[in-house]
Symmetry: C2
Subunit: 414 residues, 2 copies
């Protein structure tokens, strides 16, 4: 019988073996006392199994509150636990409740982070994965392999009218941008009803596509309740749009899957709220596991933060996230990593040096909007930055070669 | 114009004022550089506002990774920030992205927890709240005010066939239980298809109701993708069931709201995965804020853990959670606190002493199933425990008065 496995980074004041068994029991057939009916046969079929234990360092202080060690020693370890597919079948929310549920409450752990998930081959029959993925998003935007899609976020994030937004979009599409998105704060503000924004923006994009053959992808933030997301999705489709954005943590797994299942628009997955799930080193979920869940749900584009970002995350972590998205899963399920946060092009050489990929959606908000030569200069600067990055040039070399990128370095470079 | 406010427990190496302004900027009209279009008028209308700052203790070590203090001083504080209703209207997922989104990534914080949310009166027009609540759940089960609903979880959590489950349900309903639920690990296991389980269980419950007039509430775990949840919901309805259970973190806000909106079954909200969001004192979300979001979504029953539970959480925290659920919101929105985790009745006197309420769904799993006189003895023991608790008796007094509860004390008491 196929099994699903999960790897956890744990910390415990007890023996790792004992703590792992508590997790396996709590998350399958056991509870705090033996109960009638928990037969050997039932356990054989449904009990979770501790597959491996790798002991790591010990520390003298617990990472998070839990049971107290008598000798002030907390053992860290990497453990892998597996469950039979018979426990939850292809029910994604119940899989999450099994791999990521009450186990975070277990007092025997003073640290617990879900690091990775492995799902068996039969998942590919039940989860069709991203409808567009990297290849499809390149086709929709007409961006051939060899460079990233260059994108931007409408800024100010909130407050502009549909007409003001469309005016900015006009500048951006004329400047040669590939992708534009709503901010996650912008669903439908009082002065920017969703349908009005779509109408105004798509008029500009469609008109530009008619003239040039290039249809810029605009990710409209459809996040809302299910019926309203469906209506928003229809609105985008009716106006010839190609992409819907959702705040995946806020909408949730069932809602996101329902929208992805339509497979008519590329889905841009914004991970806002992610820090809550990941910022502590020994609590929550690592991006490696997280991105697999959302690829199963079917998102086409997924945020990974950026190198030298404005937030707290380290470059190493961002690089691992990009690698995670690009690693094959179930023979496909390609998801386009969305690089953003404080990006202005100066990070392109380092991003390319460390990841050796251009299969990215590279996003700059302020880096484009606040460019000294205006948004058009900002887009040009980003294209130059990536050309230079792929050619192996440094920021300094690129700044000397390219005028607009040079201006970016003067304004945004430290 | 109405405003929505959020209170955060924060820690920062900078001045609290500066860090709070970064949060307000990032979560409304600002970004990492000034951008054209962020006019004074736009800011006046859409910018988030820091309403209050209450400085608390300083510490020398940061709670979570972030910016480093030059003088090893990290200031903690309680801050309140507000947004105009014009920013996101009544879009619940976008409200969550605003109050609980990228702010967890901000490097200026070395700790950030959303403690509470206040929504304005107009929310009551857009969110109808729980369809049944405390009063409706009492009516559905025929349990009058003055004692909690007594409930149990089918154990072993997973592995029993529909017939075995129905056999156990028969014992429990004959013993006088008010409520039974699936475990969150049990959606549809290979040997317990959802419809077969509903059919077998409801046959027992309906037959008992026909005989006695008392219909026991069974919370079937419908958690799955949207369409399958709808199908499961229909199945429960068709068989005369009265309750649907969802793992709310795994299903997500949009999916849960969609199901609650049907308002035909009471919704039992299981918070598994909650520890991931709350276990660290300075990261994530406090239950006080969390329960408000789910009351807006419309759940009728919400898990709060239990006094002297088997998990890591303190009694103080559990008491606060119960009080949070029972505090009025928008003139109603009553949600029934679900007390569970290692409960066997011995905690009833302390639970009542600290909360002075019987508006609870008091759940015991192993405490009923593993009772020395069998499940019937377990149910009786719980009823006795609560009778004694309301009469103000101690565990010892109650054990001496009541035979079945006395047996519980012998087996489960320390």
């Amino acid at each position: 019988m196929e099994r699903i496995s999960a790897t956890y980074y744990i910390e415990t004041p007890f023996t790792v073996e004992a703590a792992a068994e508590v997790l396996a029991g709590e998350q399958s057939s056991g509870t705090f006392v033996a109960v009638p009916g928990e037969t050997a046969e039932l356990k054989q079929r449904f009990a979770a199994r501790v597959e491996s234990i790798e002991k790591l360092e010990t520390v003298s202080q617990p990472a998070i509150p839990g049971a107290v060690s008598k000798n002030s020693t907390y053992q860290r370890a990497m453990i892998t636990v597996s469950w039979s597919i018979e426990n939850f079948g292809y029910n994604l929310p119940t899989m999450v409740s099994t791999l990521q549920g009450n186990l975070y409450e277990i007092t025997q752990f003073t640290g617990l982070k879900l690091m990775d998930i492995e799902v068996p081959a039969s998942f590919s029959k039940h989860f069709t994965g991203p409808a567009f993925g990297i290849k499809g998003c390149r086709e929709l935007t007409g961006v051939e392999a060899g460079r990233p899609l260059i994108g931007t976020i409408i800024k100010p994030s909130i407050g502009m009218s549909p007409e003001e937004t469309a005016g900015l979009v006009e500048t951006l599409v004329e400047a040669g941008i590939d992708f534009i998105k709503d901010d996650e704060l912008m669903g439908a503000a009082a002065n920017s009803p969703f349908e009005d924004r779509v109408t105004a923006v798509m008029k500009v994009i469609n008109s530009h596509a008619d003239k040039t053959g290039k249809k810029v992808m605009y990710a409209f933030n459809i996040s809302d309740e299910i019926d309203l997301m469906q209506r928003n999705y229809d609105t985008v489709l009716q106006h010839g749009g190609t992409c819907a954005m959702m705040s995946i943590n806020s909408v949730g797994l069932a809602g996101v899957k329902k929208i992805c299942d339509r497979r008519e628009l590329a889905v841009h997955a914004h991970r806002n709220g992610w820090g809550m799930l990941n910022r502590h080193p020994l609590l929550g979920i690592d991006f490696r596991a997280y991105q697999k869940l959302w690829r199963l749900a079917g998102v086409d584009q997924l945020h990974v933060n950026g190198i030298q970002n404005k937030f707290w995350e380290s470059d190493d972590s961002v690089v691992r996230s990009i690698e995670g998205c690009l690693a094959p899963m179930l023979g496909g399920y390609q998801v386009l990593p969305v690089v953003s946060s404080g990006q202005w092009g100066g990070q392109a050489p380092e991003t390319y040096r460390r990841t050796k990929t251009t299969d990215l959606l590279y996003m700059a908000g302020g880096g484009i909007m606040a460019h000294p030569a205006g948004p058009a200069g900002g887009v040009k600067a980003l294209q130059q930055a990536w050309k230079a990055a792929v050619e192996g040039r440094s920021v300094q070399e690129a700044a000397a070669m390219y005028e607009e990128f040079g201006l970016s370095v003067q304004k945004f470079g430290k």
